[in-house]
């Protein structure tokens, strides 16, 4: 019998990934979770306080109002993406996968382009377009007789979050579109040909053949949207600043975390409180992803193609 030697080669090949992941992802995450249980004094020293940071966030009136406001706004932000970005992405992808569509490649590139632009540019450009002083928005609406309906959307508490969410949808629509498009292309021609031969209409092919085959991709898109939205920060910050005005109408968990951790103006940042907020964000995402995996992912049928 050959003596079983320790599989050093496995360790060797795993090491780079494990090391880099642990060093830059796992360790900071664990340290953040750990830091949430501390508080720092004037001199900058940390003391263990147990759950008191979390108690403050959830039960102190000022903190909990801000936290739940951010949470609710974030949920709305996510819902808008789910209702608009992903269905429109699916629609566009289905259109592009049709045969014989002219200029398909050009459209595809144009629609995907904003995704490649920096958020700062997107924020700046849209702020200019929607600016009540110099923006083209009002003029363009005037051409179709709607100049009166123009409003400073980014500044009104009732419309600010929706406007920012729509800008984000506009920017990122290319991603679900591309993912779904790739999934649609992977559907074997024979199945579609067979359906057509049997006399199925284009819509029926879509509902009964294509859609069931791309459910796993749609699930993936949902979870990616969920994680990205609950970690969102940059667009709001570049358009509305960390104070996420007006009256915190655009405040989401990311901007709430930023203000807590780094501070803002004379609000002095608290790394320990910030870590507690980050932990809450982590939990929200963990629970969301957990629900998805246990209740949705398992029920999805995968077809061998």
């Amino acid at each position: 019998m050959v003596r079983q030697t320790f599989p050093w080669h496995v360790v060797f090949f795993l090491a780079p990934a494990v090391l880099i992941y642990s060093l830059f992802s796992a360790l900071p995450l664990i340290d953040t979770l750990h830091l949430g249980f501390y508080t720092s004094d004037d001199a900058g020293l940390n003391h263990f306080t147990g759950l008191s940071n979390f108690r403050t966030i959830l039960f102190d009136q000022t903190w909990s109002t801000a936290f739940w406001n951010a949470m609710w706004n974030n949920t709305k932000f996510f819902m808008i993406h789910m209702l608009l970005q992903n269905p429109i992405g699916l629609l566009l992808a289905s259109l592009f996968s049709l045969k014989g569509l002219k200029w398909a490649r050009t459209y595809r590139t144009l629609i995907f382009l904003p995704t490649l632009l920096s958020v700062v540019i997107i924020g700046f450009v849209w702020q200019l377009i929607l600016s009540p002083l110099w923006g083209v928005g009002e003029k363009l609406m005037g051409y179709v007789g709607m100049a009166d309906s123009f409003a400073p959307w980014l500044g009104q508490p009732s419309t600010a979050l929706l406007s920012v969410a729509l800008i984000s949808v506009w920017q990122y629509i290319g991603i679900p579109m591309m993912l779904i498009y790739a999934a649609l292309l992977a559907i074997p021609e024979e199945i579609l040909d067979a359906a057509h031969a049997e006399g199925a209409s284009g819509l029926r092919v879509f509902w009964e053949i294509k859609l069931p085959l791309i459910w796993p991709t749609l699930g993936l898109v949902t979870i990616l949207t969920f994680v990205a939205n609950f970690n969102a920060f940059d667009l709001i910050y570049s358009i509305k600043g960390a104070l996420a005005g007006p009256n915190y109408a655009t405040d989401i968990l990311g901007t709430f975390f930023y203000r807590t951790f780094f501070g803002y103006q004379s609000q002095i940042g608290s790394p320990t409180m910030g870590a507690a907020v980050a932990t809450m964000m982590f939990l929200v995402i963990l629970i969301g992803v957990g629900i998805y995996f246990f209740f949705v992912q398992r029920k999805l049928t995968r077809y061998e193609l």
């Binding site: 900071p28 009104q156 960390a242 104070l243 009256n247 803002y264 004379s266 940042g269």
Partner: protein, 416 residues
């Protein structure tokens, strides 16, 4: 544990773009992005003429990000050698964390009066941690051409002020006020704390709040918000998404008659030679009332305790305290007035006009700059939010007062 902390700081430092602290070069941290050219072409060469061989890099961060990113750089050990100091509590907190050198008795410090140093001292006045550099004065700038065209006079009382605003509004050609609330800070720092001191009697009202003898819900503060709400009706229809930059442009392009601001904006508007600037202090209630102006100690300079080049940093600081610097700074960085004892002639006519208000009006600093910002919720952020809403007509003066008072009383013993 130590290694984890080092790692965390390293990650933090990598996150926040770092200005390296090298020996031989001095890096200055500041939020005065607009002054970058002046530092590089005028101030630094003037210093180097006297102190050859010291390289200086002026590396500013946007004002709204300055405090938070500086705190992160301090924690990560990558902050610059010289640090522009915000007045009062923000810098005090940095000093308490051991980020700043104690400056008492250092060369240059003897040129500043005690009143100027107050903004950068511990509460007991024993430790001074930043050298006072400059103050700014708040008020209203107006476009002289527009005023001539509509035959208007700069107003002295509130009644006159509203008459002026009404006639500009009726004319329809110009916006009465170049002011927006998208960035929020203007609503507090250049509207509320500028027009308010006439109501709460400047220092008297401010100190009464600190002593717990007055509340924000008292009539003198509510009335200031009422007045602000009335001003809000003269804002443009898109004011809620108009940024500070938009307002600056609107006024510079001659599309607005009046621009509520502070003296720091003079140098910006001087870049537009066609614009004929005038200034008037916040109008008083009745003719003959004593006037109060917000004359705010705005900027100081401290030394990073972890600087690798303290010797040169102190040389630079000594120069900051000199007559030469006071003169260059006051006259080149127009609208920032030196806080030193040196006698300086202000050359810019508008800046000169503003500094002369000191003789006729009583000076005060921004209402919440001292002590009031210390607690949680941060009063500065609350005031930004509340004042922007009052200007937009979304919040009544009474509710604004109640909200600020509640937040204040929550942590401040004398108010409980």
């Amino acid at each position: 544990m130590q290694s984890v902390r080092i790692l965390r700081n390293a990650v933090l430092a990598a996150l926040v773009a770092a200005g390296g602290a090298q020996a031989g070069t001095l890096t200055i941290e500041s939020w005065r992005v607009d002054d970058k050219a002046l530092w590089e072409t005028v101030l630094i060469p003037a210093f180097q003429k006297k102190n050859p061989g010291i390289e200086i890099k002026f590396s500013p961060t946007a004002p709204t990000e300055y405090d938070s990113s500086l705190t992160a750089r301090m924690a990560g050990g990558t902050a610059g050698d010289l640090v522009a100091c915000r007045p009062f509590d923000v810098s005090l907190s940095m000093y308490k964390k051991g980020n700043l050198e104690k400056l008492d008795g250092k060369p240059g410090m003897e040129n500043f009066p005690a009143t100027a140093k107050v903004a950068w001292q511990t509460d007991d006045g024993k430790d001074t941690f930043c050298m006072p550099m400059a103050s700014v004065i708040h008020g209203f700038l107006y476009n002289k051409k527009v005023f001539r065209e509509l035959s208007l006079q700069p107003p002295k009382t509130e009644e006159e002020f509203f008459k002026v605003l009404d006639s500009v509004k009726k004319g329809g050609k110009y916006a009465p006020l170049a002011l927006g609330t998208a960035d929020q800070w203007e609503s507090n720092q250049i509207v509320f704390t500028s027009i308010g001191p006439n109501y709460w009697k400047g220092e008297e009202g401010r100190k009464a709040l600190i002593a717990g003898k007055a509340k924000f819900t008292d009539p003198q503060f509510v009335a200031a918000w009422d007045y602000e709400a009335k001003l809000g009706t003269y804002l443009g229809k898109g004011a809620s998404s108009q940024t500070y930059g938009d307002s600056q442009n609107q006024f510079a392009l001659g599309r607005a008659a009046i621009y509520p601001t502070g003296s720091w904006d003079i140098s910006y508007f001087n870049q537009t030679p066609d614009l004929e600037l005038g200034a008037f202090p916040p109008p008083v209630k009745k003719a003959g009332d004593k006037c109060y102006i917000s004359d705010h100690m705005d900027i100081g300079m401290g030394i990073n305790k972890k600087s690798k080049n303290k010797e040169d940093a102190y040389k630079f600081l000594a120069w900051l305290g000199s007559q030469e610097f006071a003169d260059i700074y006051t006259n080149k960085v127009t609208g920032f007035f030196s806080l030193s004892n040196h006698l300086i002639t202000v050359k810019d006519p508008v800046a000169k006009q503003m500094i002369e208000w000191r003789a006729s009006c009583a000076s005060t600093i921004r209402l919440n700059a001292q002590v009031l910002n210390r607690g949680e919720p941060s009063m500065e952020n609350e005031l930004w939010n509340v004042n922007a809403q009052v200007l937009n007509g979304n919040l009544s003066a009474k509710d604004a007062a109640a909200r600020i008072q509640n937040g204040f009383a929550k942590w401040y013993k004398p108010q409980q």
